[in-house]
């Protein structure tokens, strides 16, 4: 047993209670805020965590110090004797043994917690020492020269008991992203076999944050030591696929991960009309959502899009609506009919023209605002629904696209995950969805959006499906309370004082708040269902390249002119493809046709890339040169107003 470092004291003014006690230590004691201590008393052991500290001397009033120093502050430090001082700490009870009857903390010797004490104090024994342990290393607790691994319970992190994780912290320190990357890596390495398989879907919402999860980072010796202490391998994720929409040109990817060396696992995210229409509700604001719009969208989905639609009022021939261009043509025919043939009517097939116009505007809007995401050829390039591999990471890069398109991507991806997990045909049993900037998607204030409702649904019921939300934001207080409240595990990095002053942090002691406000990078405060008090832990730097470093090492490729961009896309499939060959092939072709051929080639990934691409391009239609009409040019004059 270690030597005591303090002694519990209790007075009438500062009594011990079943949840709190006070103890004094020597001045040089290594105890600090967040340290875990053990109180030994006859027939009772109490574990506590230091939440506040006080120091004072036997000086009754400051004036006596002035008198003793003859009013000269410089002399005050030369008093031959230092005043008697006390270091008095307040600790919150983590656990008492025996647990019943629950009694005030007895007077007793105070010891710094050992590794095994930390396990007991944080009730980690409940999930570490069972026949099927479910501990996920989350960092180390360090105090007084002791360092103990801290585990989170997988049953409470990824369900079914509790689930979800939320992390709060100021921007710019990269702590939030680093913590999630490290924790995901830890989950992938230690997720208990009996709990099945797990994958992650991460939304990269800003800059290059999550763009290099498959690239190794340079780690310090200290980081490697921490990994070893936690029993983890310091390595990047092995199976990562990046999905990014195209830019408006339809051939250059809209991502900062566009370096050619990383092209092999960076694939386009392209959706057709069908994919968009299924989630059209995302595009509608609250005022738009009404039974009429719903009905018309339902009509489009069930009767029109992807089917042969016959309506003599619109066309003699069956209409085929596969793309946004087809849809626009469809709407144009309706409006033409209404304007020309049905002058007195404002209703087409029981749908009011205003409703039709509204739906047309919203759908048309997305095709414009997310031009690189939606395709006119009707063929989607999507996540591998139903074929998710165990321990695979899927990063959807929406950092560069319009907010409306971000909402659409987010809503569809999560909804698809939910659908597949409900049917148990996703390919994995659990999926962690990581969303940064949660205050943007699920704000406490503001209008109720589809995405916000979906996040709420995910946070409240996702754990039963194995769908787990890992979320992050700068200001927890600005996120919908029910969403963060449902997160069984909460991490807190360095916090802004304004944020800490908000009511949500009222239960933290002033000292804990002060520590939070100055928390160094790589340290977090953890709340977890097994821990009765928040705990400070240190975690190593993630073993994968940070976004900022990644873009320096793998600078984004410059946007290329259309022919070269197509060549680059094909070269990702077959390095033998050269730009001149591709340029010669597509010279004189319509860009839409080239894009269709390119997308088809990417989807198929044929053995002979160039041959397949050429076949998809089809026969070349020679360009017709219109004969000159013989319009006489204007006479040149030196007078511009002439």
């Amino acid at each position: 047993m270690t030597a005591p470092i303090g002694r519990v004291v209790a007075t009438e003014l500062k009594p011990s209670t079943p949840h709190q006690f006070h103890f004094w230590t020597a001045r040089e004691s290594p105890v600090g805020i967040g340290a875990i201590v053990r109180v030994e008393a006859p027939a009772r052991t109490v574990f506590g965590i230091v939440t506040d500290g006080f120091a004072y001397s036997d000086l009754l009033t400051p004036i006596h110090d002035v008198i003793g120093a003859d009013g000269d502050p410089a002399l005050a430090g030369f008093a031959p004797t230092e005043r008697a001082q006390i270091r008095l700490y307040t600790a919150a009870v983590l656990r008492q043994l025996p647990e019943e009857p629950l009694q005030p903390v007895p007077l007793g010797a105070v010891h710094l917690a050992s590794d095994s004490d930390v396990v007991t104090a944080l009730r980690m024994d409940a999930f570490l020492t069972t026949a099927a342990p479910t501990g996920i290393p989350s960092g180390v607790y360090a105090a007084g020269g002791l360092e103990a691994p801290i585990y989170l319970d997988a049953d409470f992190l990824l369900g079914p008991e509790a689930a979800h994780l939320n992390i709060t912290g100021v921007s710019g320190l990269a702590t939030k992203t680093s913590a999630v990357e490290f924790l995901l890596s830890s989950i992938f390495q230690t997720f208990p076999a009996q709990k099945g398989s797990v994958a992650a879907v991460c939304f990269n919402v800003k800059g290059p944050d999550l763009c290099f999860l498959d690239q190794p980072a340079e780690l310090s010796e200290e980081d490697r030591r921490l990994y070893a202490r936690l029993g983890l391998r310091a390595e990047p994720f092995g199976d990562v696929t990046y999905y990014a929409p195209y830019k408006a040109d339809g051939v250059n990817l809209n991502t900062l991960r566009s370096h050619e060396a990383l092209a092999a696992n960076t694939v386009p995210l392209v959706w057709g009309l069908r994919e968009v229409l299924d989630y059209a509700e995302v595009l509608l604001n609250k005022d738009d959502v009404d039974a009429k719009a719903d009905a018309f969208i339902g009509f489009l989905g069930e009767r029109v899009v992807g089917r042969e639609f016959r309506d003599i009022t619109l066309s003699d021939q069956p209409l085929e609506v596969k793309s946004f261009a087809d849809l626009e043509d469809f709407f144009r025919r309706i409006f033409d009919f209404m304007e020309v043939q049905a002058k007195s009517s404002e209703v087409w097939r029981n749908h009011h023209i205003a409703t039709i116009r509204k739906v047309r505007n919203r759908l048309g809007n997305i095709s414009v605002r997310a031009k690189g995401l939606v395709t006119d050829d009707g063929q989607a390039s999507d996540l591998p629904w139903g074929k998710f591999a165990d321990r695979s990471v899927h990063v959807i890069d929406v950092a560069g696209i319009d907010p409306l398109a971000q909402d659409l991507v987010f809503a569809r991806a999560v909804s698809k995950l939910k659908e597949h997990l409900e049917r148990r045909d996703l390919g994995v049993d659990h999926v962690v969805v990581f969303v940064d900037e949660l205050n943007k998607y699920a704000p406490a204030d503001g209008q109720d959006t589809y995405v916000r409702r979906m996040l709420l649904e995910l946070s409240e019921r996702g754990r039963y499906l194995g769908l787990v939300l890992f979320s992050a934001q700068q200001f927890r207080s600005q996120v919908l309370r029910r969403v963060v409240g449902n997160a069984g595990t909460a991490l807190f990095g360095r916090m802004d004082m304004d944020e800490i002053s908000s009511p949500g942090y009222a239960t933290l002691s002033p000292a804990t708040k002060a520590k939070l406000a100055a928390l160094p990078k790589g340290e977090l405060m953890v709340r977890h269902p097994h821990f009765t008090q928040p705990l400070f832990v240190r975690f190593p730097r993630p073993a994968m390249l940070a976004g900022r470093v990644g873009v320096e090492r793998f600078p984004p490729a410059v946007d290329l002119p259309f022919p070269q961009a197509v060549a680059r896309q094909l070269r990702a499939l077959d390095p033998a493809v050269t730009a001149p060959k591709v340029e010669a092939l597509i010279d004189g072709r319509r860009e839409e046709d080239v894009r269709k051929a390119l997308h088809a080639t990417r989807r198929t990934r044929p053995d002979n890339v160039l041959a397949f691409f050429t076949a998809q391009l089809g026969k070349r239609v020679e360009r017709e040169v219109a004969p000159a009409r013989g319009v006489t040019g204007l006479k040149k004059t030196s007078d511009p107003y002439g």
Partner: protein, 311 residues
């Protein structure tokens, strides 16, 4: 004197069980004064007349310094007829100052029962583990007189305990030691050239008349000439008064201490130096103790330690 009696409850019950009348205290002011105010003329050994010696700016004491003090608490716990049975706890400690920090170097505690001899005999079983001290029985029992006698015995026992641990410390250390009170408690102390006694009490004064007035009106930072107090024939010492704090506007005794040191030429030569060291001990001030103007912080630290660590 403390009224804390929790530690004595068992003893009190045992004594009551022997048929003695339970009691807790004597009425305030009924015990008289332990020390009568008087003037005992001293012999000047430095100057021919009383005058102030400026000692110079305070200087920190070099090296390790020890502080010795003792405490006592006592109360009447029973009456055997009219005579009180007094129980006492005495304690003494030496705290050593190293690198501006106080550390306990020596400590001793005793528990005593003071009563008339026949009473102690009757109580033999009940007071097991306590030291027994008899008070003289040449006069018939008197509750106040006997209590005063008992209190003197407690004072004396405490003094002996201080001497005991003082010797113990000095046998193991050559550091300076400052004692609360007079060095004349022990001839050995009186000869020790690295011990100082610091008396806060001025009930017995060394001069009378105009000399006394000069003595009591020493300005701050000045000392009196060195003199040899009367009545210390067994353990002669040299002494001088030192004003630690300005007294003007307060009272004549404010900040006035009397220093005792070995009666040697070395002491005469070092009186200013020793005074400068003592002046530096004004800080930190010993507030909130009401004697803060004369109580050195090191001595107060010993008292606080004994008080806090006692039963």
């Amino acid at each position: 004197m403390s009224t804390r009696a929790s530690g004595w409850t068992r003893l009190r019950r045992a004594v009551a069980a022997q048929g003695f009348t339970p009691a807790t205290w004597i009425p305030a002011a009924s015990e008289g004064r332990a020390e009568e105010a008087t003037i005992r003329p001293a012999r000047l050994v430095e100057d021919l007349r009383i005058g102030g010696h400026p000692v110079g700016a305070p200087e920190p004491w070099p090296g390790t310094v020890a502080f010795l003090d003792g405490t006592q608490r006592y109360e009447v716990m029973a009456y055997a007829g009219a005579s009180p049975v007094v129980v006492a706890e005495i304690a003494a400690a030496v705290l050593e100052r190293r690198d501006r920090q106080m550390h306990v170097a020596e400590v001793a505690r005793r528990r005593l029962v003071i009563a008339r001899p026949e009473v102690l005999g009757d109580l033999e079983d009940a007071i097991e583990g306590h030291g027994a001290i008899e008070i003289p029985e040449d006069e018939p029992p008197h509750p106040v007189k006997d209590f005063q006698l008992a209190r003197r015995e407690v004072d004396a026992a405490r003094g002996r305990l201080e001497v005991e641990i003082g010797h113990r410390y000095r046998s193991a250390s050559n550091a300076w030691m400052i004692v609360d009170g007079a060095l004349s408690e022990s001839p050995q102390w009186a000869r020790d050239e690295k011990m100082l006694g610091v008396a806060k009490s001025h009930a017995t004064l060394p001069f009378g008349g105009g000399d006394l007035e000069h003595y009591l009106r020493l300005p701050a930072g000045m000392r009196s000439p060195v003199f040899e107090p009367a009545g210390n024939e067994v353990a002669p010492v040299f002494s001088w008064a030192l004003r630690l704090w300005p007294w003007q506007g307060l009272n004549l005794l404010h900040g006035l201490i009397r220093v005792e040191a070995a009666a040697t030429l070395e002491t005469l030569a070092r009186a200013d130096q020793l005074s400068r060291w003592l002046l530096a001990e004004r800080a930190p001030v010993s507030t909130p103790d009401p004697r803060w103007d004369r109580l050195l912080y090191g001595i107060r630290a010993v008292e606080e330690y004994l008080r806090a660590s006692g039963e």
